[in-house]
Symmetry: C2
């Protein structure tokens, strides 16, 4: 599924809008470990992952690598604290697998916003989805113990357990990898 097909599954797009979206975007195959964006910089592109896996992370005050989130197939990916507001990001965005992504520049997206209300509309829908996932994660961290956090990911994102290293999963859940390893060991 390319990203226009994905959008069409959310709202049906007039053909000319679909064409414009494809025309303004660029498809690329990029290798594992490639960085789509870096902390401290303004994220220049909005990505769509057709195949592959990404990780948002940042370094905290102690220099520790903290995984904020993961993005899988059929997700729009960007530094949400940066791209739309044109200010430096907190996050790095890293490919965890060889991936196929579409990308679009901010300027091109703005042009689409101005010319096609449908694009603005679908952006709103997607932002709401992302906001909801973020709220979910907040609730999973606040006052949940390590066991409960692990259950959150096994229920909400079981696919990630197969594809992501234990260390990244633990960090995402706000626990140490030793603790996660012990949780897995029992049961």
């Amino acid at each position: 599924m390319n990203f226009v097909e994905y959008i069409n599954s959310l709202v049906s797009l007039p053909e000319n809008v679909a064409d414009e979206l494809l025309k303004k975007s660029r498809k690329q195959n990029l290798p594992k470990h490639y960085w789509l964006s870096e902390a401290g910089e303004i994220c220049q592109k909005l990505y769509f992952v057709e195949k592959g896996l990404v990780r948002w992370f940042y370094y905290n005050a102690d220099g520790k690598d903290i995984t904020d989130s993961f993005g899988v197939e059929n997700s729009f990916i960007t530094a949400f604290d940066s791209f739309f507001q044109r200010k430096p990001s907190r996050y790095f965005i890293e490919l965890l697998e060889d991936s196929t992504v579409y990308s679009m520049t901010y300027a091109d997206l703005e042009t689409l916003f101005e010319n096609f209300p449908e694009v603005e509309h679908v952006s709103r829908l997607i932002l709401i989805q992302i906001l909801e996932q973020t709220l979910d994660k907040n609730a999973a961290l606040q006052f949940q113990n390590a066991q409960q956090r692990y259950e959150f990911i096994t229920k909400k994102h079981p696919d990630l357990l197969q594809r992501v290293s234990l260390g990244h999963i633990a960090s995402y859940l706000g626990i140490t990898q030793e603790t996660l390893s012990r949780i897995r060991a029992k049961k």
Copy 2:
């Protein structure tokens, strides 16, 4: 500042759009402890707080009251997991002070979306702000100790410390009120 003035401070609205927004909205004074929305139900309205203070909270599996977030003057308030997607919410929304709010139904907002691209546009801007605040809070909870969490709120939302009870602040930060009380005691 009423909510149309607030929106105008973000993007300049054509006069007819501003008029429509005001026409579709309702201004109310509501008392402290009033619930704008309840968990388990579809949140029916989008609110704007002109004066006052609100709290999002939910009851976790143990029946514990968990504060997710606060909303102050000049904020749009709704159950973001519910209102736009028309599904039951996790959250209660409670007034913590006597407040003046504007409200608009989903149906009326949809009509505005359909007729005025500017409304869709400004919604996107507001959603991005909210998403960013939510990401900030995520980062404040993940791998930050109690002291650091308290510093987060003193820096980012110092006003809340004056207006919200210690118990609610502690819950918001994912720590017990006893721990927060002890943090305040030293220093």
